[in-house]
């Protein structure tokens, strides 16, 4: 990370607001936690060119009380903002994050007195989940959810941490129903504890510098430390602190806004969901584990972060795929230039190459489709196509692909069970389309253009009266 020493979420927001004062909006009027907050976030994403961060200072929680904790929305809804957080650029963010995480810097453990998340510690009856300003986002969500919390477990065999953005239903004062899906490393760890006849120790941490969040949200082998990956993204050791109720060897981020500690009773499952998922469909109700909460700790004046799952704010989960696709494709097509996961389509991936051989698009497609992490549809473009511009992309798909020869379809590969188009059983079809023109000596029509010297000379502002024009 190029920039100042990392601290926490609030320090980032201060820095960001100084740099982009119009992109942080403080809302002081009352906002309802049930649907209204989510609607504000979504309307901003749809109606503004770039969604600002909203900080809701007067949230009415679902218990009817005004929360003492401000709520942060749309933190990750701008790719430009995410790039700012790690000193990257819009185009290279996914690949830069991949390289940063790969640096893997070991965390440090600090004393409780040095940990801002220990400024307020509540255990026993004082640890009350109803004080958390959870939001109800979607119409079928059964209650307020943790949507920007990193569920954290430790592998009992190695002691290595794992954490992932996983949903959790704030069910009542003490119970938090969680969804670590069966293929996730968190679920493996919970199962291992169960096999030992023990309750699993788990914690959510929520709210941190976005660089830490993006670093921790890495798709990695098992078991590999997400603390190390987060350290790579901040270019310094992540500060950790022992938990309050799960033992000194259960470490949590010292500079998080909130940490919720608890145990998962072995062998017990309860209904969880439905929940408006990353696919923009409701994930079905399932029988899932739950946490019995033992401690809530937080900063003074802690900020609660909520991610509107399935929309622009949710791209934090997609960014991790861009780097792994770039790396995999680069091994077979060194001429790869950029990759991009377009925001509205969670399983799409655009790949831009400097094509030198007609085999390369298909090689790139096969490499990307072989990855385990949710790439379903791959589109390969020439380097003259700006893959970050959807108009360019749609034009190239339309005019540079003949699906009788340019389409690769591979059935029965690993698929997300949350994707409603899959057939179940974790299997689904993946496909790729070669949207490139053939290499010489083959010839292809020339795309039309305006001479470059004219494009360079004409300044639109010279022809627009002040304030005129659509800024969308």
């Amino acid at each position: 990370m190029k920039g100042a020493k990392v601290q926490g979420l609030q320090e980032f927001l201060t820095t960001y607001e100084e740099a982009y004062p119009n992109m942080v909006v403080h809302v002081h009027q009352e906002v309802d936690a049930r649907y209204d907050a989510a609607a504000i976030a979504l309307k901003a994403q749809k109606e503004l060119r770039e969604a600002p961060v909203f900080i809701l200072h007067k949230l009415r929680t679902i218990t009817g009380k005004i929360s003492p904790f401000p709520v942060v929305l749309n933190l990750f809804a701008s790719r430009q903002r995410s790039a700012f957080a790690v000193g990257s650029t819009f185009e290279t963010l996914g690949c830069d994050l991949y390289e940063m995480r790969s640096k893997r810097i070991k965390p440090v453990v600090v004393n409780r007195s040095e940990a801002s998340v220990k400024q307020v510690v509540k255990t026993g009856d004082s640890a009350n989940l109803e004080e958390i300003p959870g939001l109800v986002h979607a119409a079928w969500d059964p209650g307020p959810y943790v949507s920007a919390g990193y569920l954290t477990t430790y592998d009992p065999d190695t002691g290595i941490d794992n954490c992932a953005l996983q949903r959790g239903w704030l069910y009542d004062k003490k119970e938090l129903r969680i969804f670590p899906n069966r293929a996730s490393h968190n679920r493996w760890n919970i199962n291992k504890w169960e096999e030992r006849g023990e309750n699993a120790k788990v914690a959510y941490w929520a709210g941190h510098h976005p660089a830490v969040c993006m670093g921790a949200e890495a798709k990695m082998g098992y078991p590999l430390s997400h603390w190390d990956a987060a350290g790579g993204c901040i270019d310094e050791p992540l500060r950790l602190v022992p938990s309050e109720t799960l033992g000194d060897d259960f470490l949590v981020p010292a500079d998080a806004e909130f940490v919720i500690e608890g145990v998962v009773p072995k062998g017990k499952l309860k209904p969880e969901g439905p929940f408006g998922e990353y696919t923009r469909y409701f994930g079905a109700q399932r029988l899932n584990p739950y946490m019995e909460v033992t401690c809530i700790s937080h900063r003074k004046n802690a900020h609660w972060v909520s991610i509107l799952t399935g929309y622009a704010d949710d791209q934090i989960g997609a960014l991790r795929r861009e780097g792994s696709v770039f790396s995999a494709v680069q091994r077979v097509v060194p001429q790869i230039k950029h990759v991009y996961r377009p925001m509205p389509a969670p399983h799409h991936m655009y790949i831009q190459i400097r094509k030198t051989h007609d085999s390369q698009p298909r090689m790139a497609i096969m490499a990307a489709l072989s990855l385990p992490d949710g790439v379903k549809h791959v589109f390969v473009f020439d380097e003259d196509v700006d893959i970050f511009d959807e108009q360019e992309v749609q034009w190239a798909i339309d005019t540079r692909s003949d699906w009788a020869k340019d389409l690769i379809v591979v059935p029965n590969l690993h698929a997300s069970n949350l994707d409603p188009s899959t057939t179940g059983g974790g299997l689904g079809t993946r496909a790729g389309i070669d949207c490139t023109i053939p290499c010489p000596p083959a010839v292809y029509e020339q795309r039309s253009f305006i001479p470059q010297e004219v494009m360079d000379r004409i300044k639109l502002a010279d022809y627009l009266p002040n304030g005129k024009g659509n800024n969308r």
Partner: protein
């Protein structure tokens, strides 16, 4: 194979769905209405399609 089955809450009569892979063959498994929070068994929710194992 259908991945979800719709159920109807016996309390408020509203519909939602459950994950078939977890409920198939277990009509006694618990559901909880996301709208009124009533608890009921999957069988009581008149699941469509039915929660038969070979569905």
């Amino acid at each position: 194979m259908d991945k979800v089955s719709y159920v109807t809450c016996p309390g408020c009569s509203r519909d939602f769905y459950v994950e078939r892979s977890e409920y198939a063959g277990h009509p006694e498994a618990p559901c909880q209405c996301p709208f009124c929070l009533r608890e009921f068994t999957a069988g009581e929710g008149n699941p469509r399609p039915p929660l038969t194992v070979n569905q």
